[in-house]
């Protein structure tokens, strides 16, 4: 690794609005050769520079099995993300990474997979989901449970329809509060567990979402017989450097940006401030 903090220049190849405040950006490194050789694992993240505003970590939302596209989904929450949302297709940003450990796709081979996403927690799972779907025959049963506050807050609406139409996976979607025209489930994500059949013994569960949702989902899964090692999540912390130097994301002596962000629940339980 040459220069730890030097970003590569990338262009915004395309953008898609997911919700009123969330947008998916497809990035392409300006240097074609670099773009073609860029590789990452689902669950890893990139440090995205908006020049003049610094950089911030965002997870890869696309799958390495579709190397044309480096995608990330970003909600407007602060200065940098606001600035990012004002950029247009063709504008230049900086990209540094991949950072973090990512999901262990190999270890999931042959297993049943349960994806549980909440709100803006679906993007890190989306990369893994497409990865798995692109190698569908290597994995067992696939269940995707996804919830958001309202139907408007659901991200990847088109893809949710695509997944729903596929016969090789089970997709359940719920919202906390319905809107007019919503005919689907209403209720928190854990309520979906009663609407499907869980097989704790053979399943790896991937849980991403807001901390409070993760807490309830994990509790529920453990009570239903999942082993702590089989419940896998990504942790979020305030991050700056992404390379284990700045110390913002440290929990105990672990750095979320290096030792994580993907942990199983047994590891998470052992992380102490």
């Amino acid at each position: 690794m040459g220069d730890l903090f030097l970003p590569e220049v990338a262009r915004i190849a395309s953008m898609r609005d997911e919700t009123p405040d969330t947008r998916t950006f497809a990035l392409r490194l300006r240097d074609d050769r670099r773009h073609d050789s860029f590789s990452f694992r689902p669950g890893q993240f990139l440090e995205l520079s908006v020049f003049g505003f610094g950089e911030a970590p965002f997870c890869f939302a696309s799958s390495p099995t579709r190397p044309d596209s480096i995608e990330t989904t970003v909600r407007r929450t602060g200065q940098l993300t606001n600035a990012l949302h004002t950029l247009a297709v063709g504008d230049e940003v900086g990209l540094r990474g991949p950072c973090g450990n990512g999901f262990d796709v190999e270890a999931a081979r042959g297993k049943d997979l349960l994806f549980v996403g909440g709100g803006i927690g679906l993007p890190p799972l989306r990369g893994l989901i497409w990865n798995v779907l692109d190698e569908r025959d290597r994995f067992g049963r696939i269940q995707i449970l996804y919830g958001a506050r309202t139907p408007t807050d659901l991200v990847y609406k088109d893809e949710l329809r695509t997944w729903a139409a596929r016969g090789d996976l089970e997709l359940l979607v719920t919202v906390d509060r319905g809107e007019s025209g919503w005919t689907g489930n209403v209720g928190m994500v854990p309520t979906l567990f009663d609407k499907t059949e869980l097989r704790p013994a053979t399943t790896l569960a991937y849980v991403c979402g807001p901390p409070i949702m993760i807490k309830f989902v994990v509790q529920d899964l453990l009570m239903r017989g999942f082993a702590e090692e089989s419940v896998i999540s990504t942790l979020e912390r305030m991050m700056q450097c992404g390379v284990g130097k700045c110390n913002h994301c440290a929990i105990g002596h672990c750095y979320i940006c290096r030792d994580g962000p993907v942990f199983n629940f047994k590891q998470i339980r052992e992380l102490v401030e």
């Binding site: 690794m1 040459g2 220069d3 730890l4 903090f5 030097l6 970003p7 590569e8 220049v9 300006r30 520079s49 020049f51 003049g52 505003f53 610094g54 950089e55 911030a56 929450t77 602060g78 993300t81 230049e92 900086g94 807001p210 901390p211 979020e236 912390r237 305030m238 700056q240 450097c241 390379v243 284990g244 130097k245 700045c246 110390n247 913002h248 440290a250 929990i251 105990g252 002596h253 290096r258 102490v272 401030e273």
Partner: protein, 357 residues
């Protein structure tokens, strides 16, 4: 990599002598090839490390500047990436600082601190530009033959004589300095005239001085070992952290003057034709250090932040990860702490189980 200093197998023949009257001419010679940084009395009478313009102003008397030489490897505002807009596109390039420098008159605690920082930047993902900068710096330490008022380096194995992190160590023998080259670079620095070989008597005197200096520290010590056991096994009562928290004013000074603290944030600074991305010192004692964009803050309470600081500095977990305890016993936090939560005070409290006991 800097070659390790083999103190145990010290070759007395490697020790050299410099008559004090030749000191200025030696510094001047060092200035020919490198920027020499040394302590000198600055504005307000404050002792400060800074580039030497007049070798005669270099201060090698008692005392150590309040601001450690950390700023020369890790400046408070440190440009790391240049971002230039030209024409249609953006050009990015690393900013590196590979000036040849000598830090002169550093004390063993600070040399240990520099070694700690270097190790930290070299492990896991190495920060090459940091390493290039740090490795261009030759370190000439001055052994502490009389202990400073607030230091406790003996408890951290960081002094009073340097064991690592230096190229040359000077020992004040009265009218002359014993000069020990600890690295190849250091040995070259003291090879030629006006240096001459040391006598056996000089070397014996040096060892006496070291023993005397160690003895002078007496009971003034921070019992880091006892604290480390309790912190590592999380056997420090929550009430104790709670009791400390109103005595911390969250100034961040303990971090900023600490020779081993390196936490930072990254910010873009506006330039004429773009920006410079800067690494800037940050403090784990600030509430916003862990504040997330969502507003959630995992270390919202001050006692959690104090606990964090001491976990990083004196836990066995970090000892294993970083290879050393994160304190060099320089005692600066005792002076700069706006409250009373400096290293010796907190370590004593952990050992005794009572705050301000």
């Amino acid at each position: 990599m800097r070659p390790a200093n083999d103190v145990q197998g010290r070759d007395p023949g490697a020790s050299r002598l410099l008559v004090k009257s030749d000191l200025v001419s030696w510094i001047r010679r060092l200035m020919d090839d490198a920027e020499v940084i040394a302590p000198a009395a600055g504005a307000g009478g404050d002792l400060m490390f800074g580039p030497v313009t007049d070798p005669a102003s270099v201060w090698l008397g008692p005392g150590n500047p309040l601001q450690p030489p950390k700023q020369f490897v890790l400046p408070q505002t440190d440009p790391i990436v240049r971002i230039e807009r030209n024409g249609g596109g953006v050009q990015v390039s690393s900013i590196s600082d590979e000036r040849a420098r000598v830090i002169f008159g550093m004390r063993s605690c600070d040399a240990r601190g520099m070694a700690y920082l270097r190790r930290m930047q070299a492990t896991d993902l190495p920060d090459d530009s940091y390493l290039r900068r740090a490795d261009r710096i030759a370190v000439v330490t001055l052994a502490c033959t009389t202990p400073c008022t607030l230091g406790f380096c003996v408890c951290c194995d960081a002094g009073p004589f340097a064991r690592d992190g230096h190229d040359v160590q000077l020992v004040d023998l009265g009218d002359r300095f014993l000069a020990e080259g600890a690295t190849e670079r250091g040995r070259a620095m003291v090879a030629d005239a006006p240096f001459r070989p040391a006598t056996q008597g000089d070397v014996v005197r040096r060892d006496e001085l070291e023993r005397e200096a160690e003895r002078h520290f007496g009971d003034e010590s921070a019992h880091l070992g006892a604290a480390m056991r309790r912190i590592s096994t999380r056997r420090v009562a929550e009430e104790l952290w709670e009791a400390m928290s109103p005595w911390c004013f969250e100034c961040g000074g303990c971090n900023f003057i600490c020779p081993t603290c390196y936490c930072f944030s990254v910010k873009d600074r506006c330039q004429d034709h773009g920006w410079e991305r800067c690494r800037t010192w940050d403090s784990c004692q600030y509430s916003a250090f862990t504040l997330e964009a969502s507003g959630h803050n995992p270390r919202e309470r001050r006692k959690e932040r104090i606990k964090r600081r001491f976990f990083h500095k004196v836990s066995a977990q970090y000892y294993q990860r970083d290879g050393a305890v994160g304190c060099v016993g320089c005692g600066r936090c005792v002076q700069t702490c706006l409250g009373t939560t400096d290293m010796p005070a907190v370590v004593a409290a952990i050992r005794k189980g009572v705050w301000h006991g």
